[in-house]
Every structure is written in C-alpha cells, then in structure tokens.
Symmetry: C2
Subunit: 242 residues, 2 copies
C-alpha cells in the first residue's frame, strides 16, 4: 500500500513538473496583447561586487556559468549583463543578446506592447523574473526583482534596460502598468543602459517600487501581470530637431 502511495506521489510530482515547464514556456495572445508567462529564478548574485560574488559562488561549490577572466584588457568589451549570475563573460555589446539567450537561457519576445506575467510572487527574496523584449529595432532587458532592502521587508523592483549605450537609451521611453481591481499604477521613464548595472538602478530606487501589500493588491492567484510598452522618446526627438 505504501509502495502505491509513493508511486502515486511520484507521478503527481512529474505532472506538476511538466505543468511548471509548460507554464514557463507559455506565450499566448490575449485581447491583441502578447502575454508572456515568466517563472522566477532564485538569484545567485548577491554580493557587493561582481568579483566577490563570483568568488562566493565558487566557494559554495556553485560554478559560475561562464569561464572566469581576472582582468579586462579591451575597453571595447562589456561584461555580462545578466542580473542573475556573477558571470565573468566579456564581449562586444552586439553579442550580449546572444550570450544572454544561449548561456543564461533568457527568453526574447517581439512586439511593441506585451504583458509580462510573473508567477509565484510569494517565493522568498532574493528572486528575479527576467525577460528580453525586442522592439523598435532594439533589445531591452526587463527585470522584476524581489529583494529585502530592509531586512524582513521584501519589496518588488521593476525596471527596463536597453541592451545598448546610454545615448541610445535616451531615445526611448518605457511604461510599466499594473491594472487590477479598480486600481492602476503606471511608471514611465527613460530606460537605463545595461552598461549601468541593474543592481545600482534598484539600489537607487529609480524604478517601479512595490511594497508587498501593493504587490498583493495587484496580484491574481500569486501572479503579477505587468503591461509593458516602449515608445521613442518625444522629448528627445523634439530636442534633436531644435
């Protein structure tokens, strides 16, 4: 009897795993908008500096996903911009997207307006939800992070970074929108370049910030839907014309 119970448990676990996998890959269109289900990833990168983080993960027996280079010789090379891992990869800005896709398995989506559906918001901090967004001829990195800036009080931080230079980033405006239960919260800003570290954007608080209570108000069954839109910055265009 115990054997059958255990077998049944194992089958249930397999079904659950299969469902989770399906959920992670699910991308569907609802009301003309592309909805992308994004599963959380427990962040392994929590140390003051990149080098320190790489060292910690090595000490703990967690191998960083790329090989480790101690020094940077070529100033044209940029470090890996993945917010999840302390990755010592370096390369030209043009190949950052393919590095993030291939090495860190970050999905990329097309479309001017998408819905980012972050699942399992209850998971403990530090946790990241990450996706790339291809739009207007450029690629953007969307990061939602659950972090305890103040111990015991997790907050959610959402930002969009251009995989490009700060000058290129100035040409765009991104909008993040939460809308549920007769409440709406909108954040609009110029994206920052991935050359500025996402960690510093979040520690500066220059992004959409949600307390746990607000996140719960906007969540539906443990998932948070964030509407994303990117436009070319009108202010900047007007300035350029002058």
């Amino acid at each position: 009897m115990l054997f059958f119970t255990q077998c049944f448990g194992a089958v249930l676990d397999l079904i659950h795993l299969r469902f989770q996998h399906y959920k992670a890959k699910r991308v569907f269109s609802a009301a003309g908008q592309l909805v992308c289900v994004v599963n959380p990833t427990h962040s392994l990168k929590y140390a003051p500096t990149r080098c320190a983080a790489a060292q910690t993960s090595t000490e703990q027996g967690i191998l960083p996903p790329c090989h480790h280079h101690e020094t940077v010789h070529n100033p044209q090379l940029v470090p890996c911009t993945c917010p999840l891992f302390s990755c010592p990869w370096e390369g030209h800005l043009e190949v950052v997207v393919s590095h993030l896709r291939q090495t860190h398995r970050i999905n990329i989506l097309q479309g001017a307006e998408i819905v980012f559906l972050a699942t399992d918001m209850h998971l403990p901090a530090p946790t990241d939800w990450i996706i790339m967004h291809s739009c207007l001829g450029h690629q953007f990195l969307l990061v939602l992070r659950k972090q305890e800036k103040y111990e015991g009080h997790p907050q959610f931080f959402a930002t969009m970074m251009l995989i490009g230079t700060p000058t290129q980033a100035d040409n765009f405006t991104y909008r993040l929108e939460l809308n549920r239960n007769q409440r709406r919260l909108k954040w609009e800003a110029t994206p920052r370049s991935v050359l500025e570290c996402v960690d510093s954007v979040i520690s500066d608080g220059d992004c959409l910030v949600l307390n746990t209570s607000l996140a719960q108000l906007f969540s539906d069954n443990g998932s948070l839907a964030i509407g994303i839109a990117i436009t070319t910055s009108k202010v900047h265009s007007a300035e350029a014309e002058m």
Copy 2:
C-alpha cells in the same frame, strides 16, 4: 550690542513666520491648473486607537483641539475624520467639512484638476500634508503622510478619501500623478470613504507609496508636486447601466 543682536534675531524670526504664513495660504494658477502650496503639519495622532491617542496627548499635556466625549450614543453621528489630531468630535456627515475647516483649519480648494505642492519633504516622520478638494459636487480629503512603517525607513503615502459614504465613493476615480525629470508615476483608484479610517488605508498600503529615494527623484527643491484629478467612475456607470 547683545541687545541689538537679540532684537535683530527677533525681527528676522517674525519675518520668517510671516513668510511661512504667506506660503501656507498661497494658491495660484499655473498653465491653467490650480497650484496649491501645502505646508506640513507634525502629526499628533500616533497611537493604535483614537481613545488611546487622546489619552496619550492629554497625559503629555497636549490638549486635543476639541472636547472629549467618552461614548457614542447616536449611530447616525460620525467621528471627526481629521488625520492630524485625536479629536473626539462627533457630528452628522454633512457637517464634517465645516468641522475640518473651522476646527482643524484645513483649506478647501475648488476645481476638477489641481496641483498639490507639498513643501519641506525633508521634515522627519510623522508628518502630514492635508487639503480638502471640492469637485463634482462632493468634497474629498487628500492626505500625504510621511511615516516610518519600518523604523528608520520613512515612506510617503498619498490617498484621497471622499467625505461621504462608501457607496458614494464607489462613483468616483481619483488620479495622483508625479511627473519630473523624464519620469512619471500615476496612481488611479476608487477613493475610500472617510468613514473608513485614513490610518487603516495607509497601513494596508492601498494607496500611492513612495520610498524616500523615489520621493527625492520627484521633488524639486524640497517640494513635491502631485497632480490630482477626479472623475466619475466609468466602470461603475457601465455596471449601473447593465
């Protein structure tokens, strides 16, 4: 010589006080929108219950601004809704506005769209910025509060409450908008009724919440401009028609 220095100091203090008074009353129109400069008030009401707060303020020798009634006999009477003081006043909902104006000196402004300019954002918590807003035939209470929900980490909470019943409040939508330095943050919600305590709305986090860093990003020279708009709720109207 000392006498003249002291006299000069006293004159300077008087000029400063006069200027503060002038600032508090200043209301001007900029680009078609009514801008109202709102000075901060150090909140005297910080205790879990109204009675406890009244007791504490009396114990500390701070007299509450109204007389103290121990019991409520008439269920049609509502308590004072002033977020600043533990006021034991009771009266009919219709006379709450005149009580807030006359006893608590809360200003009232007319207009569908106004700009609430909160000064001296650097002042320590607990601090409140309060105004009443008359619009669409109703009066609303706008509260911006600086509060340390977590010790050592002050946050700003902004909400709008209808001076009316919860059923009346369901007919409206209010919008609070911050806009500065290529960043925009909008919060839209159904106002809560003043019969639900403003303290509970803030402790639930069901309002616009700003970290100190975000508040600084949107502030200009220590003042925070919040654009306010009130509309009749379309969702509710559509539901009523069905």
